[in-house]
Amino acid sequence: MQHLINSLAEKTPSMDRNGAAVIALHEVWKIYDTGEIRVEALRGVSLEIDRGDFVAIMGASGSGKSTMLNILGCLDRPTRGVYRLDGVDVSTFSPSERADIRNQNIGFIFQTFNLLSRTSVWENVEAPMLYSGTSKTERTRRIEEALQVVGIPEKAKALPNQLSGGQQQRVAAARALVNRPAILLADEPTGNLDSTTSEEIMTFLQRLNAEQGITLVMVTHEQEVANYASRQIQMKDGQILTDKKT
């Protein structure tokens, strides 16, 4: 991971790397213009997230929280404004460069798990490392480690459809962590889980944040889930309404 951040720094040598903020949005706009309809999903959002933060982004649907998460995850790029990841302006990166950032610096957890179907747990967790060219022995070591961390080492050979929702989300977490990203992005991670399993997953994420110091940004619309975070951001109409630490 370090080599990629170094290479990021090289790409923009003049950029000042301000403080400990791992994520810095400055006046970010996202405008969808289909010609007939013009939707301003984000309207000048500025935000800084420090290393080791656990942030919950809340808001009604259409408030822009998912758009913001997509931009933070380098799945999308802002129409206007600057997004600095670890001090590097990634808002102008090409699709390939953004793919590398997603591979190395960011882990995703989705509401619908998004595991590769008909592909074993082991291979699902292995997938991100195939795109980073990790050696076979290193891959084996990391998969075993990641499955240990998420607590399902015995399920390595199982297929996703043989697992419960909570187990599938743990596999997704293992996959997200396997390249040791600095940031973990979670989009409604408990949206498809019952309350007991939700609690389990949230406790797990909280521990991950506390013990491993991983920066966690989570989108949710449930206050209960947001309460696990150390910082809650309310969004409305593409802007930040409130931003409070708990």
């Binding site: 390939s96 591979n103 008909r118």
Partner: protein, 406 residues
């Protein structure tokens, strides 16, 4: 990034839809099989034509009597009684480009030995025949000029006739019956095999031409055809011209009269065989090209289906860090894999077909190393050509859209 692993992912995806993959490959299999069969048939035939011209001696020329014309209806060539034995003697004596001549007379006949019988061609020549047509004596000997003069009832058997009548036992000195006449077998020929037109060259009995004329053709003095050998291959054309001039003079033909004979050289015959062969090859190549095209379109179609079926998978892969180029390689290697596998199966099928044709129909085939390499490269090229668009479409997907795809 790990290309080997991406290839493994592709192969896995193919093996998940076995029937679909097999059906998609069918077009390529048929196309490549047709290419291989065409090329091996064509090359085999070509090689055989060349060998045959060499074995016939490319310096030999056939002289045939002209065809009879009565009330505008022409009969087969050789039906005019214009060609005499003396004409051939004159050619040998007066044409400097002619090295050897042999009048010829033929007949079909039932041949009997003991309780075996066989229907074959009886051809009469003189004692020079084996040298002119590159025949080799296997057992016994050929007849000499005194036996020709005496119209001796002696016969030399082709390999097939020997096998059929004598089942491999020594025939020299034995007596066979042809049209109720007894002939003494004095020798056999070494096998020559099939010629370009599929005729068994060894299914033949050679006797003195004088014997055929006297015993089978009622003592006719004319001959329907004869074989002329030029002094060398380059002199063939000169020999033809000299023979034409001589025969026109001997037959007292005026300047406005047509020839009452025909001269054909063997390379012309070989050329016409080659032309037939070429038509056949063009036909098969067209079939091959069309089925490869159809196969390629089938591949493209199935890859487009695969891309839209697996949009979500593509989205997931992009989210976890697959570059567009990784996605492109994954889908390209799937279509190349399909085509290569189809190409290899087609190759085996084509080799099977060629072998079956060679053994079943007795046609010559030759599977060349080149055609194998070309078939494999060509099928890979089809995979790239028809797989590129679907793979590009997959690579150009927007990760967010792809992840949302249901």
């Amino acid at each position: 990034m790990n290309y080997w692993m991406i290839l493994k992912i592709s192969l896995k995806a193919l093996s998940r839809n076995k029937i679909r993959s097999a059906l998609t490959m069918l077009g390529i299999i048929i196309g490549v099989a047709a290419v291989i069969a065409t090329v091996s048939l064509g090359q085999g035939a070509q090689q055989q034509i060349q060998e045959e011209i060499a074995s016939l001696g490319d310096s030999t020329v056939w002289v045939r009597a002209g065809s009879r014309r009565s009330w505008g209806v022409r009969s087969a060539s050789g039906t005019m009684n214009t060609l005499k034995v003396a004409d051939f003697e004159a050619m040998l004596n007066e044409c400097p480009a002619v090295k050897a001549v042999s009048p010829s007379a033929r007949s079909m006949a039932q041949v009997v030995f003991g309780n075996q019988n066989w229907n074959t061609r009886i051809e009469g020549y003189n004692e020079l025949y084996p040298d002119m047509r590159n025949w080799t004596i296997a057992q016994g000997s050929f007849f000499d000029d005194s036996q020709v003069k005496a119209a001796a009832r002696v016969a030399v058997l082709g390999n097939t006739v020997w096998q059929e009548l004598f089942a491999g036992s020594d025939p020299v000195g034995q007596t066979i019956r042809v049209k109720n006449l007894s002939f003494q077998v004095i020798g056999t020929f070494k096998a020559k095999g099939y010629n370009t037109w599929g005729r068994d060259q060894d299914d033949i009995i050679i006797v003195p031409y004088t014997t055929v004329q006297k015993k089978f053709l009622g003592g006719a003095l004319h001959v329907e055809s004869g074989l002329v050998q030029a002094v060398n291959a380059r002199a063939t054309y000169a020999a033809e011209e000299q023979i034409r001039a001589l025969l026109r003079q001997r037959h007292r033909l005026g300047p406005f009269q047509d020839d009452d004979f025909m001269i054909r050289n063997l390379s012309e015959i070989a050329e016409s065989a080659e032309a037939t062969n070429r038509t056949m090859r063009i036909l098969l190549s067209t079939i091959a090209a069309v089925s490869l095209l159809v196969g390629g379109i089938g591949i493209m179609n199935i890859m487009l289906v695969a891309v839209s079926e697996r949009t979500r998978e593509i989205g997931i892969r992009m989210a976890i860090g697959a570059r567009p180029s990784h996605v492109r390689i994954q889908f390209l290697s799937e279509s190349i894999g399909l085509c290569l596998l189809g190409g290899i199966l087609g190759l085996l099928t084509g080799i099977g077909i060629s072998t079956a044709i060679a053994q079943g129909l007795g046609w010559p085939t030759m599977i060349s190393y080149n055609s194998v390499v070309i078939a494999v490269l060509f099928s890979a090229a089809i995979g790239i050509f028809f797989g590129y668009y679907p793979a590009h479409k997959a690579a150009a997907l927007d990760p967010i859209e792809a992840l949302r795809y249901e």
